[in-house]
């Protein structure tokens, strides 16, 4: 065996061409570091992307990579996995690629529970086409294409994933690289579709869109770091928590650090209700959850597909061409 791979081994020879200061750099190096730490093999790893700034990602990974067309990366990845279920496949997409033109492909890939990982870079803007509002832009967003403010309601990537039946849903922010690596590692370990939203700063067209969540000082007050089995506590001095009031979550100031009655996180509960209301918690009313919202196990699409193939072979024997040609009503001409 050769020496274990390092972050550098996952860097391709291509010059990275994102704008200086773009959040994509942090995601790229978190991914390279995470894969090196996981000890995956480069030849078994495939990155598939669509179109947009984020989708240039595969060019910079020294693995197999496929920069496909706008919105369709999940479909390309589906074919890759059906052809070779053994490969580790990552889908890289953005809020425009995955939630606008490619929403159909995203939802259907997730509902099938194909065993690949989807990383959605959410910067709430179209970067590559130079700054139009995106499906995650807040209503009223003033951009080149919406000088009087956008009219659309934003989509929430996590609720879309949950509504599609995602078996793994997580979120992280580009400014917290260490946590991002942990989330990536968790996604890699999941069997089935893993959906990860990354808050990503487009410093050219939508700088500071997530400042409340990325700025070191503000972060503790505005993010809820989820931990399985632990009470939901946040704030600079861990001084606040989340409690249920009927069917609604509420923020509670802790009395002397007393965590009694706080909601405990359970990522493994099959019913998606808890994950759904976590996903719906929005700044500024709530801290926004990061980490793993949901991780449940379910059979993957390709495993079930191969089981059907296997069952057919067992029942009918390995297909024989001459049997196939001679099936049905045949007759002989003399």
């Amino acid at each position: 065996m050769s020496a274990p791979l390092t972050l550098k081994d996952f860097k391709s020879d291509q010059e990275v061409r994102w704008c200086p200061g773009c959040g994509d750099y942090a995601i790229l190096s978190a991914m390279q570091k995470a894969l090196a730490d996981l000890g995956v093999s480069r030849e078994n790893t495939v990155f598939v992307s669509g179109i947009g700034c984020s989708s240039r990602f595969p060019y910079y990974m020294n693995t197999y990579g496929f920069h496909s067309i706008h919105g369709r990366a999940p479909a390309v990845a589906t074919g890759v996995k059906c052809a070779n279920p053994e490969l580790d496949v990552w889908v890289i997409t953005g809020d425009g690629d995955g939630l606008s033109i490619g929403l159909g492909q995203l939802v259907h890939a997730i509902r099938r529970n194909l065993d690949f990982k989807i990383i959605l870079f959410n910067n709430r803007i179209y970067g590559l086409t130079k700054g139009q509002y995106s499906p995650t832009s807040e209503t009223g967003k003033v951009t080149k294409s919406t000088p009087d403010g956008s009219l659309d309601q934003p989509l929430n990537p996590l609720t879309v994933a949950l509504a599609s039946g995602a078996t793994f849903v997580a979120r992280c922010v580009d400014a917290d690289v260490k946590h991002m690596q942990e989330v990536i590692a968790r996604a890699a370990a999941h069997r089935g579709t893993a959906f990860v939203e990354v808050y990503q700063d487009c410093n050219v067209y939508n700088h500071h869109a997530f400042e409340y969540a990325t700025d070191k000082k503000q972060r503790p007050d505005h993010l809820l770091y989820l931990e399985h089995g632990k009470p939901m506590v946040f704030g600079a001095g861990s001084d606040r928590g989340i409690r249920l009031d009927g069917l609604r979550p509420v923020v509670e100031k802790l009395d002397n650090g007393n965590q009694d009655g706080l909601l405990k996180h359970d990522e493994s509960v099959h019913d998606p209700t808890l994950a759904m209301f976590l996903a719906r918690m929005k700044h500024p009313e709530f801290p926004e959850p990061v980490g793993v919202l949901r991780a449940v196990s379910a059979p993957t699409y390709e495993r079930r597909l191969m089981a059907q193939v296997q069952a057919a072979v067992e029942k009918r024997g390995n297909g024989d061409l001459d049997d196939l040609f001679n099936s049905g009503d045949v007759w002989d001409a003399k």
Partner: protein, 637 residues
């Protein structure tokens, strides 16, 4: 060859009531719920097993159950059986079975004068007549004076005959298609055995239904025998097909089997990603039943996902195939461009139907030729092959896979609704006789370059999982050799040239254009795809009359065979017959700068032999070559 219309000339044989004829064309027509496709298919299989050459034309409405009794709901199945080679289901029919007034109205015009007309008189009620738009009952008028009309209360007879099976009255009446089939079997002196076996296989679990259908089948047969309603019966002797084993295949079945065969020949896995669409869905249905061949079928959420999954599968080393019809192909085109750019071998099947837009979903047309060859953004060539008949789909599928994997590009198979649904005998091949398809995957070693071309101009097929070949592909222009992203102007020109060059090289890989008849002469009839049969029959007829006419049928549409220009240039006139408004004609004129004329028809139906004969005669009579004016109604343009 004898004209089947002049039955009187046929000699009588042993049974003085049976006449021998060379060919006969029959059409079963009824409401879409009447089981006419089933009756037609059964008649086809029985005749094929009996040894006749057969050619069929199913014709059904786009609606699954249009309002009962209306013209919109009429479903028909035409079949021609012959003791010679035949290539078409027949221009005119010798016998029409009309299960209701609407079926009579929709089909009567195609019945030859003096032909046999069997009607289910039970259905000629005032309400049904009104639904079909008849002001008076045609059975009581002189509208049918030219035909040999047999009014039979088929429903009543059927219900009576199946009584002992103990079905309800509705289910009993539903057996009437088997009654009609039994009667037609008697009329054309066919054995019942094949259909009986089929009934037992199909309804094995419902003893009562199987019994009822058998009773109906026999009742129909016996009615013919005893009723003395028919003065004559007819027999078509077995055709002298080349010796061998045969089975009937529709084009869609032949494509499915051909794809499985090709994949085995390549020692690969078949991945089939598609989205349901008429008339292509049957390929998915058939392939979904071949999982024991490691066929992996995927019903995608839409046409785009279907083709993209196919590209992903090809990237990962499978034989990736997708299929659709015109509207779906339009949706797939961007992705097909991606496969051109990434130089991955995928197969795209277009089972053409009437367009534009949703058009005529269940009717045939050949108007996607331009869409196949040039319908994408940029200079984006793909190879295009058009099978010429249902059985030829088998070969076309294998050739498509061979070319796609050798040249690393998408190959489009242009079928059509007529080929897809009609059946003809296919001579069963032996797997061992099929040439293997050699696949060379890149392997580790040395300095791997994803776009380094081999002696076919192809880049290596390097599949994920292979150590040392990690590389990136995508839709952005590739630098020659390295495959890195490149916006360099000269490189772009070079890559465009290289992709076009691969197509040109295919022209030398496929058989040269053959000509049926003399290689020079007054007129060359040029066709492609499903128009083969009508044109070949027309050519034979014209040649028999002494006309200087030959026929060239194209299978590879892109590239054209290398010698095509020479072939075309050896005739005074070139007449391109196609079911569109002149798409191949225009390509030929542009490519070879010659004055090809055209016969165009877009009526959702195949050419009749007579239409091609007439057009050829008009061209031959014309004083000199003229481009003529455009006549949209089947005229020569």
């Amino acid at each position: 060859m004898k004209n089947p219309d002049t039955l009187e000339e046929a000699p009588a044989i042993d049974d003085s009531r049976i006449r021998l004829v060379d060919r006969v064309a029959i059409r079963f027509a009824g409401d879409s719920g009447d089981g006419m496709q089933l009756a037609g298919t059964q008649f086809t299989n029985t005749s094929a097993i009996f040894g006749n050459d057969v050619s069929t034309l199913p014709d059904f409405p786009a609606e699954i159950r249009a309002p009962a009794g209306t013209l919109a709901g009429v479903s028909g199945f035409q079949i021609q059986i012959s003791s010679d080679d035949i290539f078409t289901p027949g221009d005119r029919i010798d016998a029409l079975i009309a299960m209701n007034p609407a079926a009579l109205k929709a089909n009567l015009a195609d019945l030859a004068g003096g032909g046999i007309l069997i009607v289910n008189s039970d259905e000629f009620t005032p309400a049904n007549l009104k639904r079909a738009g008849y002001a008076e009952n045609p059975l009581e008028s002189d509208l049918l004076a030219d035909y040999r009309v047999h009014q039979i209360p088929i429903t009543t007879h059927t219900v009576e005959a199946v009584k002992e099976a103990g079905l309800g009255s509705k289910e009993s009446a539903r057996c009437r298609n088997f009654y009609a089939l039994g009667l037609v079997f008697w009329l054309y002196d066919r054995p019942l055995e094949t259909t009986q076996n089929w009934i037992r296989r199909k309804f094995g679990k419902r003893e009562d239904i199987a019994r009822a259908n058998e009773l109906a089948l026999h009742a129909g047969y016996n009615f013919g025998e005893t009723a003395e309603m028919f003065a004559l019966r007819y027999r078509v002797e077995p055709a002298k097909l080349p010796p061998g084993r045969y089975r009937n295949l529709t084009g869609n079945q032949a494509l499915a089997i051909g794809l499985v065969a090709a994949t085995r020949l390549a020692k690969k896995t078949l991945f089939y990603g598609s989205y349901p669409i008429t008339p292509a869905s049957d390929i998915l249905h058939v392939l979904a039943g071949y999982k024991h061949f490691d066929v992996r079928t995927f019903q995608a959420e839409d046409e785009i996902a279907a083709v993209c999954s196919t590209i992903g599968a090809a990237y990962a080393g499978a034989i990736g195939v997708t299929a659709s019809s015109g509207p779906g192909i339009a949706l797939k085109q961007e992705a097909i461009g991606l496969a051109v750019m990434t130089e991955l071998p995928i197969i795209v099947i277009d089972v053409q139907r009437g367009g534009p837009s949703t058009g005529l979903p269940t009717k045939t047309e050949q108007a996607d030729l331009w869409q196949a060859i040039v319908g994408r953004n940029g200079e984006c060539p793909v190879a295009v092959i058009a099978p010429m008949s249902p059985a030829d789909c088998f070969e076309a599928a294998i050739e498509a896979v061979r070319i796609a994997t050798r040249f690393m590009l998408p190959v489009m198979i242009l079928s059509d609704g007529y080929i897809a649904n009609s059946a003809e005998p296919w001579r069963v091949v032996k797997a061992a006789d099929l040439a293997p398809i050699e696949i060379r995957h890149a392997t580790n070693g040395g300095d791997f370059k994803p776009y380094q071309r081999d002696d076919h101009g192809s880049r290596p097929w390097a599949i994920p999982g292979t150590p040392g070949l990690e590389h990136r592909v995508g839709g952005l222009e590739k630098a020659a050799i390295t495959g890195n992203v490149s916006y360099d102007p000269d490189n772009h020109q070079r890559m465009i040239n290289q992709r076009a060059d691969k197509i040109d090289r295919i022209a030398h890989e496929v058989p040269p254009q053959a000509v049926f008849g003399d290689t020079t002469g007054d007129l060359l009839i040029v066709t492609w795809g499903g128009t083969y049969g009508a044109a070949r029959t027309a050519t034979q007829r014209l040649q028999a009359q002494g006309a200087s006419v030959s026929h060239a049928h194209l299978r590879w549409m892109n590239p054209f065979p290398a010698n095509l220009g020479e072939v075309l240039g050896s005739f005074k006139h070139v007449l391109v017959c196609e079911l569109n408004m002149g798409q191949l004609q225009t390509l030929i004129r542009g490519r070879y700068a010659l004055d090809a004329e055209g016969l165009h028809k877009v009526k959702g139906r195949p050419f009749m032999v007579s239409e091609i004969v007439d057009a050829a005669e008009r061209v031959l009579k014309a004083p000199s070559k003229s481009t003529g004016t455009h006549k949209s109604n089947g005229g020569v343009a």
